[in-house]
Symmetry: C3
Subunit: 331 residues, 3 copies
């Protein structure tokens, strides 16, 4: 399975809601209505407290067990989900799946069945193959919830939600905003989930700026303006999101012989941000390649909301865990 | 140390009980009386709740610390012990022993002494060498308990207990049952612990079916009928347990040139199960090689109790942790 | 950065205390006054309970999150900090930093910023490079505390504290003691932190015994007597601390062709301990190379306080966590 034929996959829209419209699974921001996204963002706000204060805690998931099933390595997303679950009172089981059962040839579904039989009922899944989360959803018991923590180049819905929350906090609403996402759009699940969420929230204009070789399939992001000239893309933008570029990818891009050249053409810098709105914010999903896709001092400047995104990430994940737990009552 | 001379090892029977007959360590099902096994199974039932409900929790081990010392990789057994301990309120320390102290040349006993000095007093140990759990028992302070989570080809007592619990739940009693275990008996600690437990519980007939090259030492399982013809072994069986076969082992078996041939001769299928009793159950310790030792659709059929075994595994481990904690009062 | 020019690094003395003299970070025992060290040792005593009893627990850090950031592998120190944090009620996040973000090229500071944004506010850091803990301290938000869990050859302050606690428990005071540390002094952060702590506490005489090639820079330990003859070094000693020697290092030492020769010249044995005071104690930071730097039976004899050091390690780390938490009130 690859990103290219991902439109052939089962539509997550039909899988992730209960008949009553509650959140049963989180696979994608596609198909989630503006009302539901807004409720999740509202709930997330309730899970925020000032840095330095003790984090917000509840007993909502006390006695429940969450499993982190990461088939790709991750520090930040795994840690964010782990803290979100613990702060709701849940037990967390971290499974380094590469080094155990898969070695023994067990299928992912048998791993899920086994953990389900241990009374784990929320699974946080990251996998490099498209369609894995929806495939699991299709096969598990109805009381189980699957949360997508990053799926191939396809979807990273909690990242999309934390981006929405951060933008809403800084800008109040979405209608009149110009949002510019810059970098390797073609391979970015972050860009795709952000684009889906922003479209649903009614963003004014969404610009996707990349080298031609890293442009998205226009059919996948029909509402977005696809561009290749960063200066044009930044003009008047209210929100600028730089994406992580994998160094290997740079070498594959014709006409961009190295990281300096990439930075010169697609790096977000203080200088370039002068083209954007005076109060524009700078975002990045992390981990950053400082000096490649973003000027290092810009990432640490007051314009940057990068660490705020991380803080919002825990809150959003708490809200998602709370939402799927709440929808159990009516399933 | 190898499985072959395991009868020369110190008899775990003399090590695992307190003078009052309580469970101090769990090394093997050998030497545990029917009364004690029945009590553990009874206690396990109290730790079960319906799937989808919150798991049963107590504060029995609150403030205590359990260490998982797995010198062989494991997902399911490690996770099962971790959840059992957490649901009893204990703190759990997971130690990936391969990648740290052993690198530095520390002996297993020094690792135990160090953790014991940190006031960890229950150790869950998995090791590829025979005799390691008993060796540790011989050397630790009297307030420590050692639980064997898989020992070479020798012993896997909590697996044996969960098998007993599952059979008792499905069949009521053991006296009139025919139980057939199929596969690589020679190298299976699962088969050995199940055989020991079933013998103690007074099983009607125990059949061990394997290719001749993978048959057990008859001296180790004197009560069992050793067979090589699967059809004969299945005739009238009430319980059929398929064992995991390592693909490398198949290649070593003369006359069985590959997995298809293995499946044809020793795979448990719907078709073959017609030879067993009409209400026979199918078991497997996991992780399964679907299509090799067991037909995939049979593993998911109503006849299969494989996920129930997993659920029982957590309950049995909770009962064992509770039992060794209780026996502390009288030590 | 290497141990040789570590005097050029920012002085941790200026970094680790609050203006009111409370402990903000723990980077080094250098610069911590005798009064403060004594208070920490006194507080540590309150966290000790008899082996076999449930460990002492409080709710002092309930709701707080501690991150273990170990850039070098470790079992014992990581486990000790994890247990200390859990027994104070904190949530603990273990990050195996080698296998995730660093692979993706993220800087250590961005890892800290990310975790800080997740409302983690105490970081336990082990790193093979000198200066890393102080560098982090220089760059984090003021509410964060950094605890050094082992820094190159430079500093291991919680090890130094547990050594002080163990000596004080056994000997009552420091003034009239002769303490002899034996082994690879040049590369030992354990020796350096012990030497710094003992000097502050006013130890009678501190002897550092090593092969000439493994002697310390005298400028780094001005109060110590540097020696090469073990028999002389042991004469009348009240405390003898053997250091772990890396086998590779032995091969580099001219005139010491192997481990037997090393043991013959620098190994601590029952026989050699006859030179020390009759009630002398034997210490080792672990993990031990039995038969190389210490006679195996001596390590297990009543003279040895090695496992007591481990027990004290958890108590000392609880006291440090409590101290940095307490100093937050006044920061």
């Amino acid at each position: 399975m690859s990103a290219m034929n991902s439109n052939d996959l089962p539509d997550p829209m039909n899988l992730q809601l209960t008949p009553q419209g509650g959140l049963h699974h989180l696979l994608s921001l596609r198909g989630l209505e503006r009302r539901l996204l807004s409720e999740i963002l509202d709930q997330s706000e309730a899970y925020l407290s000032p840095l330095g204060d003790a984090p917000v805690r509840t007993n909502l998931l006390t006695g429940r067990t969450i499993a982190n099933l990461f088939f790709e390595p991750s520090t930040r997303t795994r840690a964010s989900f782990e803290l979100a679950a613990k702060r709701l009172g849940a037990d967390v089981l971290n499974l380094d799946v590469n080094t155990s059962s898969r070695k023994k040839g067990e299928s992912i579904l048998d791993t899920i069945y086994t953990l389900q039989a241990m009374q784990i009922d929320i699974f946080v899944v990251r996998d490099a193959s498209a369609g894995v989360p929806a495939y699991i959803v299709d096969n598990v018991a109805p009381h189980i919830s699957i949360l997508n923590a990053g799926e191939a180049d396809i979807s990273h819905p909690t990242q999309g939600l934390l981006d929405l929350l951060t933008i809403r906090q800084c800008k109040g609403s979405f209608e009149n905003l110009t949002v510019t996402i810059v970098g390797d759009i073609a391979h970015s699940r972050v860009a795709r989930s952000a684009a889906e969420g922003l479209t649903t929230m009614g963003v004014g204009e969404l610009r996707l700026v990349s080298p031609p070789a890293l442009a998205p399939d226009p059919a996948l992001m029909p509402q977005a303006v696809i561009m290749h000239d960063l200066d044009k893309g930044l003009r008047g933008a209210d929100v600028v999101m730089a994406l992580r570029i994998q160094r290997e990818r740079i070498d594959d891009v014709q006409g961009i012989p190295g990281v300096e050249e990439y930075y010169a053409r697609y790096g977000i810098s203080h200088e370039r941000m002068k083209l954007a709105a005076p109060d524009a914010i700078v975002m990045h999903p992390g981990p950053m390649n400082r000096g490649i896709e973003i000027e290092s001092s810009l990432a640490d400047s007051p314009q940057s909301v990068i660490t705020r995104q991380v803080t919002n990430g825990v809150a959003v994940r708490m809200a998602i865990l709370a939402a799927v737990m709440e929808s159990r009552q009516s399933r």
